[in-house]
């Protein structure tokens, strides 16, 4: 069972929860379970082709999954999965 930390803009799509406990052996399975439980989260996290959006960062504890095994990153009990919005700008 992993804990998924929900960033503030997405809590409105997850019954206003700031975290959700989800079962799954990998990051992909956990995020799939999460978006099955809260379907409105899906369009915010995934493209129409089912890929994680480029402006969505996912961390397992302190590690970016892009530098681990991406969606296939294995999870242990008590791991924390954090969804981190990518923020930039300029003029």
């Amino acid at each position: 069972m992993a804990k998924v930390l929900i960033p503030t803009p997405l809590r409105q799509y997850a019954d206003k929860k700031d975290s959700v406990d989800v079962t799954g052996a990998t990051v992909g399975e956990v995020l799939s379970s999460l978006t099955t439980q809260y379907p409105d989260l899906k369009k915010n996290l995934y493209t129409d082709e089912g890929k994680l959006r480029s402006f969505v960062n996912v961390y397992v504890n302190d590690e970016d999954i892009r530098y681990l095994s991406k969606d296939a990153t294995a999870l242990k009990d008590a791991d924390t999965v954090t969804i981190v919005p990518s923020i930039a700008g300029g003029f």
Partner: protein, 138 residues
């Protein structure tokens, strides 16, 4: 509407002026109820943009991870972000809109010749096609 506590605001101004002529960036933490936001903590961040920072910024996701933890431990939430426009007005540019997220408050601080000039706040709509000004008090 967003209100920024004095200490947090002073931290933001210090960061914006110190970063001049580059853009600064940071994270705002506080409470939100019924669309009214109160910022009690400002977290100055290093501009992680890999290039000329006079007109671009990028917040390192690891800084966001740390700020999110800090907020949760205090029973607070990340309400949005701030950045500066060196020698430019405080408007929400197309680049700001493209790389923002809906819901968050985005405070844009104009810094002229190294001194804070004025600031405005904006919130992007759900499909990020436009941003609306948000009433800002500091």
């Amino acid at each position: 509407m967003i209100r920024i506590d004095r200490a947090a605001w002073e931290e933001m101004v210090r960061h914006a002026e110190a970063a001049f002529p580059k853009e600064c960036c940071g994270i705002m933490i506080g409470t939100e109820a019924n669309g009214s936001r109160q910022v009690s903590v400002a977290v100055p961040c290093k501009n992680a943009y890999d290039g000329d920072q006079k007109d671009r910024f990028h917040i390192d996701p690891r800084d966001q991870l740390a700020a999110d933890r800090k907020a949760r431990e205090s029973g607070l939430a990340v309400l949005g972000f701030f950045h500066s426009h060196p020698n430019e007005d405080s408007y929400f540019s197309s680049t700001d809109l493209k790389f923002s997220w809906p819901w968050y408050s985005n405070v844009v601080m104009s810094v002229r010749d190294g001194a804070f000039s004025h600031a405005k706040s904006f919130i992007a709509n759900d499909d990020q096609t436009a941003a609306e000004p948000e009433e800002l008090h500091y």
